[in-house]
């Protein structure tokens, strides 16, 4: 009897789920980026699935299989990540087709401006870092005399130093679950040198990129949809996706585009109270500094307000600082939240702060190596034990990424053999990034109906497009978000891949796209020309 009842219940649940999804996609057609408790991040992807609502396709014929779309974890279905979403899929198909149908397109290559992946667009890795990694990869090299002719002397010294910190010099062994102790010591020393305040290697948890660290914290903080995390709008969609995956609630706070994407404490307060009035326990505040996609660098005064706010309201401060080495304007400077908190007089036990750093950005751009860490301060030892436990289930992060993270936080110093070339490479990359940021920002601001805040830092521009009503209507007819409509047209006309603003969320009724500043300098003029021409044609077609 019970089995029959369970079967009936399951059918009911499946039917309800199917109906809910149909309603969801209809709702999204009418208004995107609704500011409700927003478990669902609107994105073009959901529209592609609405066309399959009839239940056709191979999924229905395989309904006897246990794992089908309808029986997947709903949190998986809910989450979205536009950075590698629909637009990128289309671009990849175009790229494949370009190989065989060169003449069918008004462009001869796809330029991926959707993702902060510098080395895929020609940026070179820092030589010293790669020398050390190569020596640590194949330690037999250190016993060969010929090695001295191929590697700088300080890279050889550094490799020895690192290997001495690894038990048995075994770079292929699982390490301590927080990362190799000696490397954490180097990172802690680097943090201290940066901030002027001490760092404890035991506070450091090394991860495969910064993203797994963010996931760990969400897992820790979120027990149900009653747990909310304050996130900036616009935000890097790792946060919304992670919150959705862990079943929590994203509590949005809007950055002010008119004031250079400023963060107002009054807005934080308002959103916090709003969430609380809906029965949500807000557990943490995520701040991305420098911002992604918005690029603003917070003023120190602002940071102090934020620290006080978190302290007062009992929030964990999640400080995403992966772009700390990407600051392009002379009137702003990066200050870590740890430094700000300590300089305000808050000690180790006073503020719950998790600071994230990565080897993927900065001037090193080592995305594919997957290295990063979080510095966890202000938690009691029983909470830290839980973080350790979570880290231990995955054993450890990849050793090569750990080594690179320690190099990033303790690079060559004046007097070192490699220092001159290191500095030349670093400054070359950073000054070029600053130049490209400015060039693209200026070009975007020249476009009709487009305003673009300057990129103070990070790797992106996030222009605001004032889309004419005709374009919005055309988008609706095509069952696409207006900014996605624009971006698809842009892709098909120019081969340039950008991410629609709805992937990051934005004030309802406004439209943006995110474009990286990463294509090599020599490509920038062509990109500007193609973009300008496309935009003119687009406006000619849709102008009111």
């Amino acid at each position: 009897m019970r089995r029959f009842v369970i079967g009936q219940a399951k059918n009911l649940i499946d039917q309800t789920r199917r109906r809910q999804r149909h309603h969801k996609s209809l709702r999204l057609l009418s208004l995107l980026a609704a500011s409700d408790s927003a478990l669902v991040l609107s994105s073009p992807r959901l529209f592609s699935s609405s066309s399959d609502m009839s239940g056709s396709g191979s999924d229905s014929s395989s309904s006897s299989l246990p794992v089908t779309l309808d029986s997947l974890n709903p949190k998986v279905l809910k989450c979205e990540y536009a950075v590698r979403g629909e637009i990128v899929n289309i671009a990849q198909k175009l790229q494949e087709d370009l190989k065989i149908n060169k003449d069918a397109y008004p462009f001869d290559e796809i330029i991926y401006c959707n993702i902060g992946n510098p080395q895929s667009l020609g940026q070179q890795p820092i030589t010293f870092f790669r020398e050390v990694l190569a020596l640590c990869s194949h330690t037999a090299l250190l016993d060969e005399s010929a090695t001295h002719g191929l590697f700088s002397s300080d890279s050889i010294d550094r490799a020895w130093k690192i290997l001495d910190q690894i038990p048995g010099k075994a770079t292929g062994a699982y390490s301590h679950s927080q990362g190799i102790k000696g490397l954490r010591d180097a990172i802690a020393a680097g943090i201290e040198a940066r901030d002027g305040f001490p760092a404890d290697p035991n506070d450091i948890f090394m991860t495969d990129g910064a993203s797994p660290g963010v996931h760990m914290m969400m897992q820790l903080l979120i027990s149900s949809e009653k747990d909310g995390i304050l996130c900036p709008i616009p935000q890097y969609p790792l946060y919304s996706a992670s919150i959705a995956l862990h079943g929590g609630s994203l509590v949005p706070y809007y950055l002010d585009e008119a004031s250079g994407w400023g963060l107002e404490i009054s807005e934080l307060k308002k959103q916090l109270e709003d969430a609380r009035s809906k029965g949500i326990t807000v557990r943490a505040l995520a701040v991305i500094n420098p911002g992604n996609p918005t690029g603003q660098v917070l003023a120190e005064e602002n940071q102090r307000e934020i620290v006080d706010f978190c302290k007062k309201e009992g929030l964990v401060l999640l400080a995403d600082e992966v772009y700390q080495e990407n600051v392009y304007v002379p009137d702003k400077k990066f200050h870590s939240f740890k430094k700000v908190a300590r300089s305000m007089g808050y000690g180790e036990n006073d503020v719950c702060l998790v600071s994230f750093q990565s080897i993927s950005k900065g001037y090193y751009g080592e995305c594919g190596k997957r290295g990063g860490y979080m510095e966890v301060t202000g938690f009691t030892s029983d909470v830290r034990a839980q973080i350790y436990k979570l880290a231990s289930v995955n054993l450890c992060s990849n050793i090569s990424g750990q080594i690179l993270a320690s190099l990033v936080m303790s690079p060559p110093k004046p007097g070192d053999d490699s220092y001159e070339s290191y500095i030349a490479e670093k400054e070359g990359i950073l000054s070029s990034l600053a130049k490209r940021a400015k060039t693209l920002e200026e070009a975007l601001n020249k476009l009709e109906g487009v305003t673009c805040n300057r990129a103070e830092g990070a790797m992106y521009l996030f222009p605001c497009i004032n889309l004419p009503q005709k374009a919005i209507a055309a988008a609706e007819a095509a069952k696409t978000a207006p900014d996605a409509f624009y971006c698809k047209r842009l892709l098909n006309a120019t081969g340039i891949v950008v991410v629609p603003g709805s992937g990051f969320r934005q004030v309802p009724g406004t439209w943006h796209f995110r474009c990286t500043i990463l294509p090599q300098e020599e490509k920038i003029p062509a990109i500007v020309n193609r973009l300008t021409e496309f935009h003119k044609n687009f406006m000619d077609e849709f102008r009111n």
Partner: protein, 478 residues
């Protein structure tokens, strides 16, 4: 205080992972105090002296520093085939090791994995259904995350099991449905046990969604027979379970009666309706086998009979993590397409690989025999994988002492073992076992030349421990 222990996600608090739990932490403390510790708590070959294979390290070193390839003297340090292979893998990337790859892994490497699977099994494999991951563990977590919707969803897991499964199910808020392996039958799997477990779970309102097999087993080492695999696949077909085939130890086989046969091959051999009707996810890694490259964090999973829309969703979740680390992807490529006879590096590669595997086979025997020579210890032979899982028959006196110390009996035993000998193991309770039956897991990885001493040390401790706690008690009292 913004984050109190009480406010943490209960699922996090509930989850346990003994492999790096209490025993390991205590061992680390003792090591800091200067005691010599032999870490046999985790399958971490290089940490116990196993050397990395030369060829892959040469290739990856060149990929780390591609400017070496431009140097006219590179041939002095690297053989020509390593140089060629490095160029090959770099050409598969879009910017070298430092660029995010496709979120599923480099297409070129996935193609090599597919070719490997095809050679191994004799059936075609689709690279689009192969995802590379930062270690096999990440892949397991991703799949379970798709399958588990809530505590109403149960996953069949062998007991004893590798606690990644119990920890992940806990974290995801699902239910673990245990099926007991039979120690008296070399840790064999009886389908009747499976049926019983499933029936019991369903009677509690649990929807059993998936079944995990670890073949060769961890911690138990048993290699499943083809007949057994057929039964399991039939069972999954009938009960509509997706099968998770953890095959990370497929290269570690120490007997000849039951060579490794993949779940996929058996499934395809069975033909219709099974070959199209059973959903299977197979996992592999660069961490085990004779490679032992744990620190690289390289793995993959292959999906069979997954609808395209589901594969899309899994791809979507993978994309949030952007991409698996590229160096490990290259290790994976090298593992599935190693040097061939005729290649410059072949002889060295074959010699190194053979040396490791033969030594592991010898060590499996040394350890099994060593344990079986100890009082109150019974140990099944390690047919595969990297562990020994002896049963320790603790006398009532020891059980009492453990209770007084506030410790689970096998934890008590293992802590005493650690303090007396420096041997750091994982208590059987970390893997699950039948009520009242105790084990410990150790690895067969300590260097061969150190094995006899380690086994002597263990025997001395064990026999003294048994003498101490049997004193005045003994089984006659039962």
């Amino acid at each position: 205080m913004a984050l109190e222990y009480d406010l943490l996600n209960e699922n996090v608090k509930k989850c346990q992972y003994a492999v790096r739990g209490e025993l390991y932490l205590r061992a680390s403390e003792l090591q800091k105090e200067g005691k010599k510790i032999i870490f046999t708590n985790v399958g971490n070959p290089h940490a116990l002296g196993q050397k990395p294979l030369t060829f892959p390290r040469q290739v990856v070193a060149l990929c780390q520093a591609p400017f070496l390839l431009d140097d006219p003297n590179v041939g002095m340090l690297f053989p020509a085939d390593a140089i060629a292979r490095a160029k090959h893998y770099l050409s598969l990337t879009s910017g070298g090791l430092g660029a995010y790859s496709d979120s599923r892994g480099l297409p070129g490497v996935r193609k090599e994995v597919a070719e490997f699977i095809q050679r191994r099994d004799g059936y075609p494999s689709d690279p689009e259904l192969i995802f590379l991951t930062d270690g096999a563990s990440k892949g397991v977590m991703q799949i379970l995350n798709c399958v588990i919707r809530g505590e109403g969803d149960g996953i069949l897991v062998p007991v004893p099991q590798y606690p990644l499964y119990s920890a992940t199910i806990s974290l995801l808020g699902g239910s673990l449905v245990p099926y007991y392996l039979d120690e008296s039958e070399n840790w064999g799997l009886d389908v009747n046990n499976l049926r019983q477990s499933v029936a019991q779970a369903r009677s509690q309102g649990i929807s059993v969604r998936a079944m995990v097999i670890i073949n060769p087993g961890n911690p138990t080492g048993q290699c499943l027979s083809e007949a057994n695999l057929k039964e399991i696949l039939k069972f999954c077909y009938n009960e509509k379970l997706v099968l998770l085939g953890d095959e990370v130890y497929q290269q570690n086989i120490y007997q000849d009666e039951r060579p490794f046969i993949s779940s996929k091959k058996v499934l395809m051999d069975m033909g219709s309706p099974f070959s199209k009707g059973v959903q299977l996810v197979s996992f592999h890694t660069v961490s085990k086998g004779y490679w032992g490259e744990c620190g690289q964090r390289g793995g993959y999973f292959e999906m069979t009979n997954f609808p395209p829309r589901v594969v899309e969703e899994i791809y979507k979740v993978a994309s949030i993590a952007l991409s698996p680390n590229v160096s490990a992807q290259i290790f994976m490529g090298l593992m599935v397409s190693p040097p061939k006879p005729g290649d410059i590096s072949y002889d060295q590669f074959a010699r190194e690989s053979k040396g490791i595997l033969e030594s592991l086979r010898r060590r499996a025997k040394i350890m099994t025999d060593g344990f079986n020579s100890c009082k109150n210890v019974v140990c099944n032979f390690t047919e595969g994988a990297m562990y020994s899982f002896p049963q320790i028959r603790l006398p009532p006196g020891a059980l009492q002492a453990a209770k007084q110390a506030g410790k689970v009996p096998d934890v008590f035993y293992c802590l005493k073992l650690l303090e007396a000998t420096g041997i750091s193991t994982v208590p059987g309770s970390g893997f699950g076992q039948k009520e009242g039956v105790f084990h410990l897991r150790t690895t067969i990885l300590p260097a061969e030349e150190e094995m006899p001493e380690i086994m002597d040390s263990f025997k001395k401790f064990n026999d003294e421990f048994m003498a101490q706690y049997e004193n005045g008690f003994g089984y006659s009292r039962m």
